[in-house]
């Protein structure tokens, strides 16, 4: 796992604040109810920070952010380098 993926996992654990819950790169987050739609923006902003990319609106669906692995794959697919 990359250092960025680990940082994302730490960020998510901090965000959900649920004692006893552990997650890895492939844990479903949205479809398991751990992350609600109002927290998706926190994940996207963190993803933009970690990848130094801009992820355009309209190109990303919640299912693209369901796991940490999918988040980084999505950034690689639709991310644009920062102007």
């Amino acid at each position: 796992m990359t250092a960025e993926a680990q940082q994302m996992i730490d960020h998510i654990l901090q965000l959900i604040r649920k004692p006893g819950v552990t997650i890895d790169e492939n844990s479903p987050l949205v479809s398991s109810g751990l992350i609600d739609s109002m927290a998706l923006v926190d994940l996207l902003l963190k993803l933009e920070d970690l990848t130094h990319m801009r992820i355009p609106a309209g190109k990303v669906q919640p299912k693209d952010l369901d796991t940490v692995a999918k988040m980084f794959a999505t950034a690689a697919r639709v991310g644009k380098s920062r102007k």
Binding site: V30, D42, A57
Partner: protein, 570 residues
């Protein structure tokens, strides 16, 4: 507005070359239609629907992604005299079996003649969808072509009378306990007449921005039908694109010089908190003349936060507005004065909480509660505040007393479609019992909470019964011993869903983490919404009513007593 025969007559009167709809995907991808182009596409959709045998009075359920094709199908159906309704597009989190049974229930209640979906509609959500024999499933492609439009023109147009149903609005995005609010052309036109007057709509200068879903009254009426009838442009994006990138709202308003926007309360906090502060001043919100806080109780702190954050982007203080709206009245009951804005008052806390009376005090007085009004009544609207408690409805209360809000108007709904039982409970002697609590003071209406068991999460209506049923389906949970509550989350500016569930035995508490995770995924799979906190309790914890059912309000009080971390000053 009242000069038009019906909503289609209003659309027909729009100047063909004027901009109507802009669908904003991102800065590289936008599509704009003029009123003339929109009309052509809607006529083409009408011709397609007619070729499938649809005719006046037929109910048409539309389940398509937010965008121009969905809107042209909706108007195309109305052109035939048919009665369209939007349902929420299935969310990837929802289990297909659950979705299918909900959809079957809604279409059966409407005796729908057709369900219209898009080409990308997920197959598993459809599967063996159990639609009745009389319901056809139609795929709307990119939406007809000009030959279809020509075909429509040569056919005889249906006569659409003022008192015919125009469309049906559903009360919640999920397909569980649905109530379809049936509205006539006349009711919608009268509402828009009142609203356009109250907001001083100017077709030459106004432009609406919206991220609101079309199945909800704010998105459908204020941000689609009002612009269509008043001939003003709208720039819209999908709710999901907005919630994932709230900052795009600032970008769109600035780029398109929008003047009007409607949003639920939480968006007034969510937008500044989830848009990087370093970029606030790059945007230009100076074109906004009214951003209307609507549908949830209006909170002074949320309004202030939005105003302070975006003053740097040129947002005018006087652009902050409020309204109290509901599908049953087509839309708005009140609107704040376009010049003076909503009234702000401070009231004595203990008097409000225990005596349900508003005693104004000076700003900042210790223990005082701040209220923002929802504005003044629209013309031809009447409101009564009645004491709740007695089953037959209480007595009418005067200024400054908190009670249930009753509404009477010339634009009320005719009833919940095919549900005379629910209609009879809500519409009594011409008064619609809103289930909301509020008070009148100096000509302004204030909405302070809800009497009805409805959770409003991020502007979305959620019936606690739907959540409770899903939680109770877990084998470790005692059947029927579940309560779902909305608890205010001051960080988000909206309610969180909190669930209290009794387990079958005390020993099961040892598996709490696992059971919680399973409950969480069941609720997501069933409804697409996330539960914030789950409290698993030993048997007999939930307070029961005399009828043996869980008593929501007493259980809530007990929960807040035992878990003081949930107590927030709202």
């Amino acid at each position: 507005m009242l000069r038009y025969r019906n909503l289609i007559g209003a659309l027909d009167a729009a100047p063909a070359g004027r901009r109507f709809l802009t669908s904003w995907i991102d800065e590289d991808e936008q599509q704009t239609l003029t009123f003339g182009e929109f009309r052509s596409r809607a006529r083409a959709q009408a011709a397609v629907l007619r070729s499938h045998g649809l005719t006046a009075g037929d109910r048409v359920v539309i389940i398509m992604p937010q965008g121009i094709p969905a809107m042209t199908v909706f108007v195309g159906a109305m052109m035939l005299g048919a009665v369209p309704t939007f349902l929420a597009y299935p969310n990837f989190k929802v289990e297909s079996a659950k979705y299918r049974s909900g959809l079957a229930g809604v279409t059966a209640n409407l005796s729908a003649s057709a369900v219209v979906i898009d080409d990308e509609f997920p197959d598993d959500m459809l599967g063996s969808v159990t639609l009745s024999n009389q319901t056809r499933l139609l795929r709307a492609g990119s939406g007809g072509d000009t030959r279809d439009e020509d075909a429509f023109k040569t056919e005889i147009h249906p006569v659409i009378r003022q008192d015919d149903l125009a469309f049906i609005q559903h009360s919640a995005g999920t397909t569980g306990l649905q109530k379809g609010v049936a509205l006539t052309h006349a009711a919608v036109l009268r509402q828009l007449e009142h609203l356009a007057y109250a907001l001083q709509i100017d077709p030459a200068a106004d432009r609406v921005y919206s991220w609101l879903p079309l199945y909800h009254d704010m998105g459908l009426i204020a941000c689609f039908i009002l612009p269509m009838v008043c001939h003003i442009p709208v720039v819209m994006q999908s709710p999901l694109d907005w919630v994932m990138h709230p900052e795009t709202m600032l970008q769109i308003i600035g780029e398109h010089k929008c003047t009007l926007a409607w949003m639920p309360n939480f968006a007034f906090q969510f937008t500044p908190r989830r848009s990087p502060q370093k970029r606030w001043s790059q945007y230009d919100l100076s074109s906004l003349r009214a951003v209307v806080n609507c549908s949830e109780p209006v909170r002074a702190s949320s309004m202030r936060e939005f105003q302070k954050a975006f003053a740097a982007a040129g947002l005018k203080d006087e652009a902050l507005h409020s309204s109290y709206a509901m599908a049953e009245n087509v839309f708005a009951v009140t609107q704040s004065d376009p010049v003076r804005g909503p009234a702000h008052i401070w009231a004595d806390g203990p008097q409000f909480r225990s005596a349900h009376r508003i005693v104004p005090v000076a700003e900042g007085t210790a223990g005082a509660v701040a209220f923002v009004s929802s504005g003044r009544l629209l013309p031809n609207l009447e409101v009564r505040i009645v004491s709740s408690g007695s089953a037959l409805g209480g007595s009418v209360l005067g200024d400054g007393s908190v009670g249930e809000i009753l509404v009477k108007s010339d634009c009320l709904f005719t009833g919940y479609y095919n549900r005379p039982d629910l209609t009879a409970q809500a519409l009594i002697d011409g008064w619609y019992h809103t289930g909301d609590l509020g008070f009148h003071l100096d000509g302004e209406l204030y909405v302070v909470g809800r009497k009805k068991d409805l959770l409003i999460v991020g502007g979305e209506n959620i019936y606690p019964q739907d959540v409770e049923e899903l939680v109770a389906s877990h084998s470790a949970v005692h059947d029927g011993r579940v309560v779902a509550l909305g608890v205010y989350n001051p960080d988000l500016g909206t309610d969180d869903i909190v669930v209290v569930a009794e387990l079958e035995s005390e020993e099961l508490l040892a598996n709490a983490v696992e059971i919680e995770a399973e409950i969480r995924s069941r609720v997501v799979a069933g409804m697409g919404v996330a539960v914030r906190t789950i409290f698993l309790k030993p048997p007999k914890w939930i307070v029961k009513s005399t009828a043996g059912k869980p008593a929501r309000s007493s259980t809530r009080e007990k929960l807040l007593r035992e878990h003081p971390e949930l107590n927030v000053d709202d």
